[in-house]
Amino acid sequence: MSYLEYNVKTVPTGPSKILYLNWPLLLLLVTVASVGFLMLYSVAGGSLQPWAEPQMKRFALGVFAMFVIAMVPIWFWRNMAGLAYGVSLALLLAVEFFGETGMGAQRWINLGFMRLQPSELTKITLIMILAAYYDWLDIRKTSRPLWVIIPLILIALPTYLVLRQPDLGTSILLVTGGGIVMFLAGVSWWYFIAVIGAGVGTVAAVFSSRGTDWQLLKDYQYRRIDTFLDPSTDPLGAGYHITQSKIALGSGGWTGRGFMQGTQSRLNFLPEKHTDFIFTTLAEEFGFVGAFSLLSLYVLVVFFCVVSAIRNRDRFGSLLTLGVGATFFLFFAVNMAMVMGLAPVVGVPLPLVSYGGSAMLVLMVGFGLAQSAHVHRPRGR
């Protein structure tokens, strides 16, 4: 169903659109972000600087962007999908040549007022292009090999560029996020079974290629996998992050040590305590109760996305909303699994809580699209 078929009269227009926003979702996002402000204030030792205040400003900017995007009809965004995808690919190519290196990876492009990570932007534009593709595609062709290869290429292009940076975390998120949209669009189960089988094979290949001339990953990536599998082998070296993270998290207990009382983060035993490992500070200071509450908030965010998507009869809007929700889910699930020692340390931030501009802005853009889909969904018969 394309927008031309919409009964446009049933779609709200003008400033009254604001009443049709998915307000519970927005409220949840603000709550999650507030938890982030609180934790950034705490890890700074009870100070708005250097993290909490900039984060608030960025979030305000993100909320503003979300509103703007939500007000624009979803069919406009569908038409923009190809352009957005093209621009993000171009930016990924640009960082390949002009990017600035941080943490051993080329990730940023300096726009003057902010440092943009095109790889973050790609997470949303990839969802957009895939949703638009399946909206366009005749549903009966969905599982035909030729029509499966096209989205695979769409996924592979940015993934390859991101892997070259190298950014393993984002690559995984791109592949998984893209795969989820394909799954939602109705691609046959057999493809996924085949891909999972191939994935297992790839893992075997990755490990067997180690130390040979054609090894597939960088040494530091292997080391991260090693320390993930057994952090105790190198507690002060490569395993330090994960060991200290688990100690801080576990020592929180039921109710935690109390706000601003987390000794491990306060005494700098925790690495990256304001970015990727911020969840450990929360878990240490607020315990299981706090950590589980945040997890519940995240699950609710995804739940509202799923509900909104299921109630949306516009294919593009529905796929887009589910894709944004899935991306958001992947962010927090990978991050939490990482700090709890269930997944390797791959550098995925905790969405809306970790300090960092690009990821937050991109997510808010994504939620803006989901809100637009929600506001402009077809109504009535």
Binding site: I139, F183, S251, N268, F303
Partner: protein, 640 residues
């Protein structure tokens, strides 16, 4: 393009169904995350909490104050002095070199010390205080404190270090402490964490070493919170520990000081003064001595070389380590053995013609012309050797050795000093075991005049004399009390010799000093109520007799004297050994007499104590003694 409504309907159903599947999967993953949280934060929380505390909390030991050591009158022999230091903290100093240069303009800094400190500063974390210089004067510290604003990162600091205020006097008795070494750690079985503190001071010799555990005390601890870099963030708790126990010795410092000063005139000598009633060692003197404080601070190589290369062996505690042939001081033992065996009566006489023949060997008396007819009293008085050759031949070495051992010879006394020697009290069995030889009569003859295999320490000779004087098995005692607990006096029971026999020997010893022909008459004590009995000894280092003045110092005879006083009511026993000093009567007896007089008076003896003919000479000698200023006669402190 157009699609039929059915298609739209079915495609929407598919998205809805797949969306539900995805939602279910996501919920499952979220459940797994929640389960993991619960596992870590609820079930394993205690284990992780413990790990977190281990991360965060460090224990820093607080060294307890070491126990003090006092003499019997409470004069401190070992104390904890304040050690003024200057420490620097790199991160506060900024430009370390500039700050040190500025400090150098204010107080003198040893360039070697500074170089060492500079290296340490660079090696340590920037917040660790490093000692730039220590053992500074109060003036230096005040200078640094006043200029503190111009010296960022520099702080004057004060710590405790061991100090021996009487310096040389107790170097051998009290001993000294020094930084614990790897050798110490391997040698002593002690898991006290204090020993792990770098440069922690432990007793190395003497009382400091033997009573290390009492003196050390129990470590306190500071529980501190550190961050990941090891910086101390705050103190969480403090346990001050228990200070070491104070130890009071039996020694008397004014006497000890006098003994040390008086012995110094004899080049290499030692003396022991003992209370015959309770065994208290009042003085254990050695000359030459050394300043133990040098060892506490870390003695320089050249100073240490001077001490070890000195032929008078200042490091040796000769009073308990030095084993010398006792010479004629051993004759009392032979007499007691013969009397106890019933093989000698008081009036029995032997003829001394200057030598004694055994087979075709001649054993000479020290007096070539002989003593003529000699009875017990005269044998001791004039120290006739032939008399004792006869007794030894009659009694045999085993009886002599058994008797001597009852007087403490050959016994290793349990005293808290380093390397207390048992000496040698030989008998037939000993010679067989030691040298696989059988004992010959000639060996007994040599032993009877304290030569040959017999070796004894000044301490043993003092004990022997005290037992002769008291008739009891009195044991020497150096520690009077530990932490206020009085230590027991041992050996008050009788020795088990007939009183009459002891009286005969004591009379003989009285004749040595108080009869005109006695070998130590020149060293008599004048006042009747203080008269001293004694015995001289001259033990040969070489077998050929040459006039002592003509041979090098190392080959001269050892001079010995043992004595007790007052004769009528013995209270003090003394022994003096002057290594290679020549004759006992000329070298050892005068020293013993001066020491005894000082001990009896409890202060610098008045000239009335001396025979009138000697008073002029003694006045000069006593006034020239290098006594400590605070123990000079004018100072009436102490036992007077």
């Amino acid at each position: 393009m157009k699609r039929s409504p059915r298609d739209t309907e079915s495609s929407m159903k598919k998205v809805t169904r797949r969306g539900a599947v995805l939602g279910g999967l996501q919920l499952g993953v979220a459940g797994l995350l929640g389960w993991r949280m619960r596992q870590m934060q609820v079930e394993q929380a205690d284990a992780f909490r413990l790990l977190a505390e281990e991360n965060r909390i460090n224990m820093r030991l607080i060294a307890p104050a070491r126990g003090l050591i006092f003499d019997r009158n409470g004069i401190p022999l070992a104390e904890n002095a304040q050690n003024y230091r200057v420490v620097i903290v790199r991160e506060d100093a900024g430009d370390v070199d500039a700050v040190i240069a500025k400090l150098q303009q204010l107080i003198y800094l040893d360039p070697v010390e500074i170089e060492r400190a500079r290296k340490e500063i660079m090696r340590r974390s920037p917040f660790v205080p490093v000692t730039l210089t220590d053992q500074r004067s109060w003036e230096d510290i005040a200078t640094v404190a006043v200029n503190a604003p111009a010296l960022p990162g520099i702080t004057p600091d004060v710590g405790l270090t061991r100090n021996y205020p009487l310096q040389e006097d107790y170097a051998h008795v009290v001993g000294y402490v020094g930084p614990v070494s790897d050798y110490d750690l391997s040698r002593i079985d002690d898991d006290d964490p204090l020993l792990q503190i770098p440069k922690f001071q432990i007793g190395k010799t003497g009382v400091e070493q033997k009573y290390e555990r009492d003196l050390r005390g129990k470590a306190g601890a500071r529980r501190i919170e550190v961050n990941a870099a090891g910086r101390v963030m705050r103190e969480l708790g403090r346990d001050e520990g228990i200070s070491g126990a104070d130890i009071q010795l039996t020694v008397e410092s004014r006497l000890q000081n006098f003994v040390e000063a008086r012995l110094a005139l004899g080049l290499s000598a030692s003396a022991v003064v003992m209370d015959t009633r309770n065994g208290d060692l009042l003085a254990v003197g050695n000359a030459p001595s050394f300043d133990p404080n040098k060892f506490v601070r870390g003695i320089s190589v050249s100073d240490y070389g001077d001490l070890t290369n000195n032929k008078y062996r200042p490091l040796s505690n000769k009073a308990v380590q030095g084993a010398y042939p006792p010479g004629s001081t051993f004759k009392m033992m032979v007499t007691m053995a013969a009397l106890d065996a019933g093989m000698l009566s008081a009036g029995e006489t032997f003829y001394c013609g200057g030598y004694h023949e055994l087979g075709n060997r001649r054993f000479h008396c020290w007096k070539r012309g002989g003593h003529g007819w000699v009875d017990l009293d005269k044998s001791l008085q004039q120290s006739c050797d032939v008399y004792y050759y006869e007794l030894a031949q009659r009694v045999g070495i085993d009886k002599i050795a058994e008797t001597a051992r009852r007087f403490g010879l050959g016994e290793r006394f349990d005293l808290p000093m380093s390397a207390v020697s048992p000496g040698v009290m030989p008998d037939k069995q000993w010679l067989r075991e030691r040298y696989d030889q059988s004992w010959r009569v000639g060996d007994s003859l040599n032993a009877s005049i304290g030569q040959g295999y017999v070796l004894s320490t000044p301490l043993q000779l003092a004990v022997m004399t005290a037992r002769l004087a008291s008739g009891t098995k009195i044991e020497p005692r150096l520690v009077k009390s530990i932490d206020g607990v009085e230590q027991e006096v041992r050996g008050a029971e009788p020795l088990g010799f007939a009183t009459e026999h002891l009286r005969l020997v004591r009379n003989g010893m009285n004749s040595v000093t108080n009869s005109r022909r006695g070998t130590a008459y020149g060293s008599r004590i004048e006042p009747d109520n203080m008269r001293m009995a004694g015995k001289t000894g001259t033990s040969q280092v070489r077998s050929v007799v040459v006039r002592n003045q003509d041979v090098p110092w190392e080959e001269r005879d050892h001079a010995l004297f043992v004595g007790y006083a007052p004769v009528d009511n013995p209270g003090l026993a003394v022994s003096v050994v002057v290594e290679h000093g020549g004759g006992g009567s000329s070298a050892a007896a005068p020293i013993a007499r001066d020491i005894m007089l000082f001990a009896l008076y409890g202060e610098m003896p008045p000239l009335e104590g001396y025979p009138s003919s000697q008073r002029g000479r003694m006045e000069t000698l006593l006034s020239e003694l290098p006594l400590r200023d605070d123990f000079r006669p004018s100072d009436r402190r102490g036992r007077a």
